[in-house]
């Protein structure tokens, strides 16, 4: 057995007290095995991975045994552990961009592994030879070829920001494999990447496992990722392993309630659209969106960077239209143009309803942290009331009914019910809510002004699978009950299939 974890408990000590992240976990891994560790955020799966690497922050402490090749890593000093890190056990993180040092050329960063371990004179029982500078570089270039990085010589001299996300992750993998480790811990290695790049990276990991026999512990929240390359799976929930087995067992015959939920969430049938209306909420004709790049020289005309060209589509009333594309394909810029936030476009954008409202990806960043939920939800109505009061004073006619403060409060409570949140949330602050709850508040906020047309920009991308499922169900219910029209922007084809009536793909 390569790795044996016995009764591992990890605790975090903070000002607020002790948080138990991992509560007595035992499992084993064989040489050359690919083990999937799946769970939602807060399940302790990442903490588990970091414990194996000896990378827990200073506020954490752990008990139990972590036997790597028979040696108990839990009893090792920093210095002893250091001999294993990068050499016998390596790790690939979620965010390749921030995980690489921005100021050092990627070739040098990978090469560092060799100076750290191969030239290391410490006797750790493995055959190590001294390498010259030229030999080290040759090894790095060879590894770059192995992980299929383009033009290894050129890439060697590049800085992280000059590479694409997929290339950065390949550099991270090259770095992790440089000293031929026996165990590779991949912590959400594909989560930050586009769908097609995700598949390439997973294939690469599988290939490495097949060729070099490196055991891989793949930590992920995404069952599809696990299903694609793993042999065995651990399902973690609230710091415990709730189910374990082979991929086939878990997927075809799940025993635990939570595992069943996870699998249900990804096995959803595509939506059968039964819409037959011809009324449109939004028409987009010959839309070309661009950015103006300011010129450096006085008098020179600004250049245009075209984001998308000659787009034609319409969103029908009561329809959810999906807009799918890779990151950088201009999805968000198009939505900003439709909202009127981006002025540099040609063509026509015709609104047949009130101006659309927006739901963003980052549910916390879009809520004012200093205000209570009740205040946040009431704000659009207050602004409306102020606007009409001003209009009335200016002598305008056709003033609609202006809501009194009591009516506004009632409407807020009503909206909370619609997004399935308890009424007492009016007195809560955003930080007291979970990610899913916050996103429900954002949906409520978008609907507050009475708009029947919503643009949702990756509304579930940063949520856990089971929470995603709930939010998507809510959006579908709102579509049915309120006759909501929606432009649904996402990079995730599976999510789009589930909720959208029609889909547009961006190149």
């Amino acid at each position: 057995m390569l790795l044996e974890v016995k009764d591992l408990k990890v605790e975090f000590h903070t000002d607020k007290g002790v948080t138990k992240a991992v509560k007595g976990v035992s499992f084993g891994m064989n040489d050359g095995e690919i083990l999937g560790i799946v769970g939602e955020s807060g399940s302790g799966k990442s903490t588990l991975g970091m414990t194996l690497m000896g990378l827990l922050p200073g506020t954490a402490s752990y008990t139990g045994q972590v036997l790597f090749d028979g040696a108990d890593m839990a009893k090792m000093s920093f210095e002893e552990l250091r001999q294993y890190k990068g050499d016998e056990i390596s790790v690939v993180f979620q965010e390749p961009m921030t995980s690489l040092n921005p100021l050092i050329r990627v070739g040098k960063q990978v090469e560092e592994m060799l100076t750290l371990h191969v030239n290391d004179t410490q006797d750790d029982g493995r055959l190590h030879e001294k390498l010259t500078k030229a030999q080290r570089k040759e090894r790095v270039l060879e590894m770059f070829r192995n992980v299929e990085l383009p033009e290894p010589e050129v890439t060697y001299r590049k800085y992280p920001h000059e590479l694409s996300g997929g290339q950065q992750q390949r550099v991270m993998i090259a770095m992790a494999l440089m000293c031929s480790p026996r165990l590779l811990i991949a912590d959400e290695p594909t989560t930050a990447l586009d769908a097609d790049v995700q598949d390439q990276i997973l294939d690469l990991l599988k290939e490495i496992n097949r060729k070099q026999g490196t055991a891989i512990a793949l930590v992920s929240h995404d069952l599809r990722v696990i299903q694609r390359i793993c042999q065995n799976v651990l399902v973690m929930y609230k710091g415990e392993i709730v189910e374990r087995g082979t991929v086939d067992q878990i997927f075809n015959n799940p025993q635990d309630e939570y595992t069943k939920q996870l699998i249900d969430a990804i096995k959803q049938e595509p939506k059968q659209s039964d819409l037959d209306t011809a009324d449109t909420a939004l028409e987009v004709k010959d839309l070309t969106v661009f950015y103006q790049i300011k010129s450096e020289v006085l008098g020179q005309k600004p250049r245009k960077k075209i984001i998308c060209e000659n787009m034609n589509f319409e969103v029908r009333k009561g329809e959810i239209l999906g807009l799918v594309g890779k990151s950088g394909s201009g999805k968000s810029t198009i939505s900003r143009a439709i909202l009127g936030l981006h002025k540099d476009y040609t063509g026509e954008i015709i609104h047949h309803t009130a101006r659309p409202q927006m739901i963003f990806q980052d549910s916390s960043a879009s809520l004012n942290p200093a205000r209570k939920i009740g205040w946040i939800l009431e704000e659009p109505l207050k602004n409306q009331a102020k606007y009409w009061q001003r209009q009335a004073r200016a002598g305008a006619k056709n003033i609609p009914h202006i809501y009194t403060p009591e009516e506004r409060k009632a409407k807020v409570l009503d909206m909370l019910r619609k997004v399935e949140l308890p009424e007492e949330f009016v007195n809560r602050y955003p930080r007291e809510l979970s990610g899913g709850q916050k996103q429900r508040v954002n949906i409520a906020l978008a609907l507050m002004s009475g708009s029947k047309f919503v643009i949702a920009d990756e509304p579930v991308s940063s949520l856990d699978v089971t929470i995603q499922d709930q939010i998507l169900k809510l959006l579908l219910n709102l579509q049915k009950d309120l006759g909501l029209s929606m432009l649904f922007i996402s990079h995730d084809v599976n999510v789009v299939k589930r909720v959208c009536d029609r889909v547009i793909h961006l190149g």
Binding site: L55, R82, Q83, F93, T98, N101, P102, H161, M175
Partner: protein, 312 residues
């Protein structure tokens, strides 16, 4: 290249605006060079005569354009007070002041980086509190007051130098440096404290970044992570901060030169202002402005070299 042209254009515009402001300021405040030179006892005829001689009777706009015409050719006129050309007046003093500023700047670099690293490494609460207290106090003491303390300590008690015994660098370069070390300490100390604080914060912020975790995962030692990865990243914002520090050193030297009786640009500026000697004031202010803009330009350039993500 475009960037350089743009910077030069900014430089010219800034210098023009500053020269106008100084000219206006001098026409607004009461008193002029003729009165301050002849004293309050002088007869009105005598004052009028001198004013005509100095060209002070001409309208302000005309005076400005005459001055500007000469200044473009790097001729800053004649000092009213000393009756010699401003250029010759500035010549040696620029050298004295430059040596003082350079010594101060070297002190800031040499001391604040190691102290900053030392301070960032303190993990215990008492260690951190001690470092913060020391830097806060040092930061808060004004340079001229430090100057008085240093004079007292090094000159009167330790007798390491005699106040006012400044040797011109033309006679003995090292002699001049040996004297200027003391005012330089007065100027540099608060700036060192500021830089230490800035660097400490910067290093601590970097330590939480993802790439640090990667560096540990590679099997680096703690020092390997700090010196191999963190330090360079945490020095990037310090480079920008250095631009501010240099400007502060130049400005701070004005008063400190006076305290230590160093015949530098600062001392000259103070007497010139009291005597309404505006050809001198104009020249010194423009010199300072020019220096600060050029230094900021150099900082931008260094920034670009150190951080490959920066595009100019």
């Amino acid at each position: 290249m475009k960037y350089v042209l743009k910077k030069i254009l900014t430089l010219i515009i800034a210098l023009l605006l500053i020269s106008i402001v100084v000219f206006l300021a001098f026409s607004v405040i009461p008193g002029d060079a003729a009165i301050s030179k002849l004293g309050t006892e002088a007869t009105p005829e005598r004052i009028a005569e001198l004013r005509e001689m100095l060209g002070l009777d001409k309208p302000i706009l005309e005076r400005y354009f005459i001055w500007l015409g000469n200044a473009v050719q790097l001729d800053f006129g004649t000092s009213y007070q000393y009756n010699v050309s401003v250029n010759s007046l500035l010549g040696t003093r620029i050298i004295n002041s430059s040596i003082l500023s350079i010594i101060s700047f070297i002190m800031v670099i040499v001391f604040s980086i190691p102290i900053g690293i030392f301070s960032a490494k303190r993990r215990s609460v008492p260690g951190r509190t001690a470092m913060t207290t020391i830097t806060q106090i040092t930061m808060g003491v004004p340079s001229f007051f430090l100057g008085v303390l240093i004079t007292y300590l090094f000159s009167i008690i330790l007798k390491m130098f005699r106040l006012g015994d400044f040797v011109s660098p033309a006679d003995s370069f090292w002699g001049a440096c040996a004297y200027l070390v003391f005012p330089a300490i007065a100027i540099a100390l608060p700036k060192i404290a500021m830089t230490v604080k800035f660097l400490t914060t910067s290093i601590r912020a970097e330590l939480h970044k993802d790439y640090v975790r990667t560096a540990y995962a590679k099997g680096h030692t703690k020092n390997g992570v700090l010196y191999g990865h963190v330090l360079k990243n945490s020095l990037v914002p310090v480079i920008t901060f250095m631009g501010v520090i240099v400007a502060e050193i130049v400005a701070g030297s004005i008063i400190v030169e006076k305290v230590f009786s160093v015949p530098g640009v600062g001392t000259l500026l103070i007497t010139a202002i009291t005597n309404r000697d505006y050809p001198v004031v104009e020249a010194v202010v423009l010199l300072f402005a020019f220096l600060i803009i050029v230094i900021n330009f150099i900082v931008d350039m260094i920034y670009k070299i150190v951080d490959p993500r920066v595009k100019i």
